[in-house]
Amino acid sequence: MFAWLTKVRNAGWTLVGFLLLALPAAAQMEVGETNLTLNGNVGVAYSGANDQGNSSHGLGLVGNGYLAGSYYNPNFLNFTVQPFYNREQSDSVFGSLTNAGGVNSTVNLFNGSHFPASISFNKLTNSTGTYGIPGDEVGLAETGGTQNLGLSWSELLPGLPTFTASYSMSSGSTSILGTPGQDSLTDKTVNLLSTYTVRGFRMMGGFTHRNDDGSFVDVLGSGEATPMTSGNSSNSYTASVTHPLPMQGAFGVTWLHTAYDFDSEEPVSSSSSSSSDNLSGNVTLRPAPKLGVGINATYTDNLLGSVPQSIVNSGAVEVSNLGGFKSVLLAANGNYQLLRNLSVQGVVTHEDQKFFGQTYSATQFGGGANYNIEHPLWGGFDFYGSVFDVVNQNGNAGIGFVGGVNYTKKFDGWVVEANGTYSQNVQTQVLLYTTSGFSYLTNARRKLANRTYFMAGFSGMHSVVEESAGTSNSAERVSSAFTYRTYSLTGFYSKSEGTAVYTSTGLVTVPVGVPTSILSPSALTQYNSKSYGFSLGATPVRRLIISAAYAKSNGSTVDSTLTTLTNNNLFNFMMQYRLRKIYVSAGYTRLGQGLTGQGAAGTGATGTTGTSPLVVTSYYCGISRWFNFF
């Protein structure tokens, strides 16, 4: 009957205990040859949540700490440990949906010596994160945990080759709120690196082994309830040498060999393996103060070997097997500073690519100019543009263009900035494809009165692979902010659509210059998304912070078997007041999140499970004190 009273009393005694501990707090503590510093927040909080009708609430301890120290000498050994428990909601976009805990720690050994080493360990439990969707500024809330361990050791003897070895291992699992199953990813990486400089030659050699094992539930894609599992491992060897040349010149040669294996076990077992070698060299010279020239050459025996790493860091993206994909690229360029504010450039490139048993070639002749002007009336302009003509094995393939303009103007209290770029028929990584696009960004801001400011911005982009229908990406965003004294109001609206790649951390837009045709169709989806939101922030009195934000987004992803509609809305309120070293915090979060699957016509797909809209509310009220224990 009086259980709550007991909890309050226990929490009170605990706080009293910490208060007593703080009494001698004054300086660093010394234990033998160990110096220690410990400080942090300790407090109690009452929190509760309502997860689709399931209500829970209670009183508990909250806190975070910072322990730092050294043994014998900070250079000999120093360390930091930062644990946190039931972390306050201001640390997460999603507020206090989950009470995260964890620890971040590092140990450094022999700093400043010829043999420094370090160890780091981080662990995060019960945290709230985001499954990203391009253009969706809220994303889908997901919960989970991660941990990673890092080790590093170096040999830095003067006059001898340096050597650094590092190893990192990270693992984590997450699940999107309201959906069954969970995604997991384990990554292990070994890095070896050596450098040596002798007689002006700077040499570098390295080896990287990487292993990724992951499984993820494709809730936005195929609708399969069974997790897809995949393994990806790669070994990379690299070596390079550079040396200065007369006339402020330099030359460099780089070699890279990558071998990778990709295995997918569910729902359909498949495996692929390949390797690629890349050799490149370049020479640059400045024969005259205003003239610079350079040539470079690159040979690649499997161009696609480097594509997955350029899309997602995890590398867990399968590419189509086009067989051997050899490429030879030769290029020469020159630039000349014609006037103080005008420079011109010229470039000639020739590339041969061989795949599907055929050879494709293209020669590109281009020229361009950079020009900038500052005029008190017009403001500042910065133009650049280049035109190039492409000749391939079939004859003249047409003219391409790359250009842009930057503009800055101050007038009548306003500051206006604008930036625009345009590109037409720019070569992608595969000679068969070219890409075109444009982007723009403008913003205007003004000081309306003392401590009163206004800002508005508009930005957008559009890109398309010319020879491949349905590969366009576009995005637009409007935003505005108004600040009056310690009050601020912001708002935004954005929309985007295009082609994206599934990864375990969310959808990633296909980078410009990578044709979607070289990626596995099962990894791709069409997406569109619209979002809007606003936020309020205020500091009505000193040491009191209040903020509230609302955002709503909806969109869809479409692949060959399923259309998935997503919608979510998030309201978040928080306040914090500080009195000396006492912090009083409170907050409220409401998340609505829904996924609805619609089978494409004739496929018989029934959609994802867990499609009912999810509503989670949580609230938090707590008091904590910062202690400098020792």
Binding site: P24, E30, N450
Partner: protein
């Protein structure tokens, strides 16, 4: 959990004694004169008296209050009540340390809609202890009552802009009812009446007599006006009307030369004290420009300076030096010859 946390505290040697930085020895000078280091101060905490039992208890419960601290102090003046008034561009305000009454006050006008004070630079007080502060950013002079209450601005144009391009040094001559201002970017010294009306301008850009290259600090003493001619690396001695008398200093890195002259002051024996910001020393010259002695060096210990700036000498020959980068004010005391001996020497 509490016991576990407490265990190492019992076992450990807790170093609760604050490391005491020994005061530098007295500097013994010719004829029995000496320079004595007195103290330094940097925050409200040092102005407080002994804390009572309940105050201590409250401190344990909710922590000690935040004591305002010097951030980037620049200039200093001491009024007739012995209060040290320190401008602090880093904190956008003015600290008033009452060394005798153990009180502290901070003045700021950063957030005011009308006449905000953005970068307080140099400070002076008049005979009634009104406080005059130059604001190098807004181009105005702010006048505060001794209590710290804002009274008015000088040099404010219609529309709120300041008349001066970069006002820095300031001196107030209450007897003559004159205010002297250096406008560093205009290379001029302005002479105004107490209402702010400009009566005279002194100097223009150059390296000759009554010519300046970025003049900064000012000092009015007896019938003389002393101007720190910063980038000519000298201090010019002028008459009240701007007539040239002599100058002290030249560019160099040896004793008697200057590299970044900053604050100036004059003791009861008429010796001129000049702070060199880069070398971290205060050099003392006689009226003929001969170097008498110097004190200080670059460092963080008592008696050492890092980027010292302002200097003020009160009527008791206490020398206040703003040790800007060390975020403190150091106080020395000059013990000169007794008055009688001074008379005999003259």
């Amino acid at each position: 959990m509490v016991v576990l946390l407490a265990a190492p505290a019992w076992a450990a040697k807790v170093n609760t004694e604050k490391t005491v930085d020994p005061a530098p020895p007295d500097l013994l000078l010719e004829g029995g004169r000496k320079l004595h280091y007195e103290r330094s101060f940097s925050s409200e905490r040092e102005m407080e008296g002994k804390r009572g039992f309940f105050t201590k208890l409250l401190d344990i419960a909710i922590g000690e209050p935040e004591h305002p601290h010097l951030v980037r102090p620049y200039s200093i003046a001491v009024d007739s009540r012995g209060r040290a008034i320190v401008t602090d561009p880093g904190a956008n305000g003015i600290h008033i340390f009452d060394l005798e009454e153990h009180k502290y006050k901070f003045i700021e006008r950063r957030d005011k809609d009308k006449d905000p004070m953005r970068s307080p630079q140099c400070v002076a007080v008049d005979a009634e202890d009104n406080i005059y502060v130059t604001d190098s950013e807004t181009g105005k002079i702010f006048v505060f009552e001794p209590s710290g209450k804002f009274r008015r601005t000088i040099g404010s144009l219609k529309g709120g802009e300041g008349y001066f391009k970069r006002p820095t040094g300031i001196a107030v001559d209450s007897a003559a009812q004159r205010i002297y201002i250096t406008d560093t970017l205009r290379d001029k010294v302005y002479v105004m009446d107490m209402n702010g009306s400009i009566l005279q301008t002194i100097g223009h850009r150059g390296t000759g007599e009554v010519e300046f290259n970025l003049p900064t600090e000012l000092l009015v003493r007896d019938q003389n006006l002393f101007v720190v001619d910063a980038m000519n690396f000298r201090v010019q001695f002028l008459g009240r009307s701007g007539t040239y008398q002599t100058s002290v200093g030249r560019l160099g890195d040896m004793s008697g030369t200057m590299f970044r002259p900053k604050g100036i002051g004059m003791d009861s024996e008429g010796h001129l004290y000049v702070v060199d910001g880069l070398w971290g020393v205060v050099q003392v010259f006689d009226r003929e420009g001969h170097l008498l002695y110097y004190f200080g060096s670059r460092g963080t210990r008592s008696g050492q300076f890092q980027l010292p700036a302002g200097l003020f000498i009160d009527r008791d020959d206490r020398i206040f030096v703003v040790d800007s980068y060390n975020r403190r004010v150091q106080v020395f005391r000059y013990f000169g010859l007794p008055r009688q001996a001074q008379g005999e020497r003259r």
